[in-house]
């Protein structure tokens, strides 16, 4: 187990982390390219930039839009996101690993905050799964990965909590640490290829919605010609 742990903390971590960072950069660039191509082709080149920006912000801080419909679910979703982002990035133990490797680090969360946020994230994720199952509309819309993702994201949180805050024996610590590292690496690899890519694509989604549905200038005529109704009003 020691060697497996060393391997997953060393080469496997570098592999998966590189896949995540470059993979996200890749989908972002490909998305931008396709937006440019669609914009270049479009007959109507007006894009309501003001609306794009306000709607993006409204979805990013869903006070107005989402809270109207399902306030409890939205609240848990926001709490979940806060913990999900803050804890892994600003945790003292994680920053210390960067510091050992790179020689510099970033400010860290106080011990009590890390403790509280971890517990909060775990409960929020559980609440999200229950909310998804109980609400008929959302369970109708959900795919398998929508149920799986909160569970997969929970594994490193639970195992990390056990390692950091519970006085377990040395051998149990190794086991939980291995699970913690491996599950986190699984998440790294999956992020760029699943819906979690919204962590970088989210700012573009409103632009895509506005640009991608524009058609090339002569589309109307072509459609009519194909339907043998040349000259018909569209």
């Amino acid at each position: 187990m020691e060697q497996l742990l060393a391997f997953s903390k060393g080469p496997l971590f570098r592999l998966t982390f590189a896949v995540m960072v470059l993979g996200l950069a890749r989908v972002l660039i490909l998305d931008l390219l396709e937006i440019f191509r669609a914009y270049y082709r479009a007959g109507d080149k007006t894009v309501p930039w003001g609306q794009v920006i306000t709607r993006s912000i409204e979805w990013l801080v869903p006070v107005r839009l989402v809270f109207k419909r399902r306030p409890v679910y939205s609240l848990f979703s926001m709490l979940f996101h806060v913990g999900l982002l803050l804890v892994p990035i600003f945790l003292y133990a994680h920053v210390q690993l960067w510091r050992d490797d790179l020689g510099f680090g970033i400010p860290t969360l106080p011990y009590a905050w890390a403790y509280g946020l971890t517990v909060l994230t775990i409960f929020a994720a559980a609440a999200l799964i229950i909310g998804r199952i109980l609400n008929r509309t959302s369970s109708f819309l959900s795919r398998k990965q929508d149920y799986l993702w909160p569970i997969v994201l929970l594994i490193p949180f639970v195992t990390g909590f056990v390692c950091a805050h519970m006085g377990v024996s040395a051998s149990a610590y190794r086991f939980f640490m291995l699970m913690h590292v491996l599950s986190a690496e699984l998440i790294f690899v999956l992020i760029p290829f699943t819906k979690i890519a919204h962590c970088v694509l989210m700012p573009l989604s409103q632009v895509v919605a506005n640009v991608a549905w524009k058609f090339p200038p002569e589309t109307d005529d072509k459609v009519c010609t194909t339907l043998n109704k040349k000259g018909a009003p569209v």
Binding site: M1, E2, G10, P11, L12, R14, L15, T16, A18, V19, L22, G23, R26, I29, L30, L33, E34, R37, Y92, A93, Q96, D101, Y111, A164, G167, V168, S169, A170, S171, Y173, R174, P192
Partner: protein, 622 residues
């Protein structure tokens, strides 16, 4: 997945190699040559010089030989070869410059040669020629891409006016530096094997570059026509091959004639590995291709054209690698094998050049007829991802999706393969220390290189019987021990050892102590919130020792011993009037140490009496 054609398959492979190269390149520029190459002081020039620079320049010779043939000698039938050859040469020189940037220790100083002139150095001439010729090639080639943009028509016509002078300048510059790459090796007659060393190395380099230039044009034409599924120009290739064959013959005469002239012809058949290497090199680079391209029946055979051109290309690269280092092994005694990272970078530089070449072939007017392939074909069916059924976009987007994916995964694999110990080292290898041998007299030679100090333990024991004598050197004990030696804590020769082994204490196979047994529960687990070593191990510190241990980071073996020995010796040299030499290095270091040997060579005999000890600069713990 859509069906991949030949071009896409090749591009996917090339992008993967580029991904690996990006990961290795990042390591090279952040952690330096030591972390990525197997180069040493005895072999400072490795694969990156032998292949990327020496061979790269020679492989790019196609540009000047074809322009000479077409513009100067007016051989109109070779018109179709000119644009690809100039492009190959241009990309080849860019590849040389990129390869050189990888190999230079301080690549950001490459501009120094423009301002700080050293006219005595052949490398100065090579540097300037490469710089000027790359510029000339850029000007020679730029009319081709400019053709695509009508608004740059004026610049294009302006450049076309100067085409002929540019081409002459290009031929002249090539002649100069192709030969002076050979001149570089004139200064090492005792390092280079006699079968490769010659007074006319510059001439041999030039003639072989001409032959290789022709063959590279043939090879490039065959490969690109195979890739884009076009009929190749067998007839014209045979004609070009015929010319190249006779240049090869001249090269053969120059090589063999020079060896015969110096009376060492017999050396070829002595059966040593160098002699066999010479025979193999001559066979694949000269003799067999000469036969293929001289005999008319063989010359027009398409398969043999492949074989012949590949032989020359590989044979001449082999020759440059032989001259660049392989045949120096006997003289230097340093066996150098390039690390996988050096090989990847060399492949990556070539891959990048090939990708740009393919891009240019597809986008610009380099061939009479532009190649057709699915990416540019407007009627190609849209691509769908087989696993998810998602639309991958237009064929162009689908292709870039695939290439970028190959790049990302290759980068990740390369990043994972980089050895941990190389990037975490402080530029100095961890050399483990072995215990001193002997009893009354100890031979202190931690790294077992046979340069050590004979330490009279018994005499020191007697001389300093009173007071804190023993406790000065034996100031700490490892747990359960009463009399630990220096090597038990100061475990590394030149680097610091962390005496506290956290992983062993926390491991189920070691002490199996749970976190909370040392760290205070409910607090951030760090060194400050943990117990001290002495809370459990009560026998670590020796009583009445004058040495104060603040942290459990033991200085390097050399530092630890020097600190204690030298401090006392200097004090005693002042106290004892009859022992003025006690504080000098030769008192202990009788012989030469590897560290001071280099200094001795530098200052000659005068330094020999001083016997200086050069200590490596290492970071001391706080």
């Amino acid at each position: 997945m859509v069906q991949m054609n030949r071009v896409q398959a090749v591009k996917t492979v090339l992008w993967s190699i580029l991904g690996l190269t990006a990961a290795v390149g990042l390591t090279r520029f952040i952690f330096g040559l030591g972390a990525t190459t197997n180069l040493s002081d005895a072999t400072p020039w490795g694969l990156w010089i032998g292949f990327d620079v020496l061979s790269g320049v020679a492989l790019a010779a196609g540009g000047f030989v074809i322009t000479a043939l077409f513009y100067v000698m007016r051989r109109e039938e070779f018109h179709d070869f000119v644009k690809p050859a100039v492009l190959t040469a241009f990309l080849g020189y860019i590849a040389v410059v990129v390869g050189l940037l990888f190999d230079l220790g301080l690549p950001w100083n490459i501009w120094h040669m423009i301002i700080f002139w050293n006219p005595h150095s052949p490398l100065f001439e090579v540097g300037w020629c490469v710089m000027l010729y790359t510029t000339v090639l850029l000007l020679e080639f730029s009319p081709v891409p400019l053709e695509e943009f009508s608004r740059y028509a004026k610049i294009r016509t302006f450049l076309m006016k100067f085409r002929f002078p540019l081409i002459l300048l290009g031929i002249m510059l090539s002649t100069l530096h192709q030969s002076s790459l050979g001149s570089l090796f004139l200064i090492m007659p005792f390092k280079l094997h006699p079968l490769w060393y010659s007074n006319i190395l510059p001439v041999q380099f030039f003639v072989s570059a001409v032959a290789l230039g022709f063959m590279m044009v043939i090879f490039e034409s065959l490969v690109s026509h195979w890739l884009y599924i076009k009929d190749s120009e067998t007839e014209r290739i045979a004609k070009l091959g015929f010319i190249a064959a006779w240049v090869l013959f001249v090269y053969f005469l120059l090589r063999i004639g020079d060896i015969a002239f110096s009376g060492e012809l017999g050396m070829i058949f002595t059966g040593t590995w160098e002699a066999n290497l010479f025979i193999v090199e001559m066979l694949i680079s000269v003799i067999l291709p000469f036969i293929i391209f001289v005999v008319p029946r063989l010359r027009y055979n398409r398969k043999l054209q492949w074989v012949g051109s590949i032989m020359v290309v590989f044979g001449m690269v082999f020759n440059r690698i032989n001259v660049g280092g392989l045949t120096m092994i006997r003289a230097t005694g340093d066996i150098y094998l390039p690390s996988w990272m050096e090989i990847i970078v060399s492949m990556g530089v070539v891959s990048g050049a090939v990708l740009v070449f393919m891009f240019a072939i597809e986008k610009f007017h380099i061939w009479e007829e532009r190649p057709r392939h699915p990416e540019s074909n407007p009627y190609a069916p849209a691509a769908f991802d087989r696993s998810s059924g998602a639309w991958l976009g237009s064929p162009l987007l689908a292709a870039s999706t695939r290439y970028s994916l190959a790049f990302v995964f290759a980068f990740a694999v390369g990043f994972a393969l980089i050895p941990d110990n190389k990037i975490h080292s402080e530029g100095m290898d961890d050399i483990p220390v072995t215990r001193a041998r002997g009893a009354d007299t100890l031979f202190v030679d931690g790294n077992l290189n046979n340069f050590g100090v004979a330490f009279d333990h018994k005499k020191h024991e007697e001389l300093t019987r009173e007071g804190q004598a023993c406790a000065t050197c034996h100031h700490m004990n490892i747990p359960l021990d009463k009399n630990s030696g220096c090597w038990e804590c100061h475990k590394k020769m030149f680097t610091v050892t962390d005496v506290f082994n956290h992983d062993w204490h926390a491991s189920a196979g070691g002490a199996a102590i749970a976190c909370d047994e040392c760290h205070t529960p409910g607090q951030q687990r760090r060194a400050e919130s943990a117990k001290n070593c002495e809370d459990c191990h009560r026998d670590l510190r020796v009583e009445n020792t004058p040495i104060e241990v603040k942290a459990y980071l033991a200085p390097s073996y050399t530092d630890a011993l020097h600190d204690i020995c030298v401090a006392c010796h200097l004090k005693k040299a002042v106290e004892l009037a009859d022992k003025p030499d006690l504080g000098l290095c030769p008192t202990c270091h009788g012989g030469e140490t590897p560290e001071n040997r280099r200094e001795l060579y530098k200052y000659g005999q005068a330094a020999r009496s001083l016997k200086p000890v050069v200590l490596p600069q290492v970071k001391k713990p706080e």
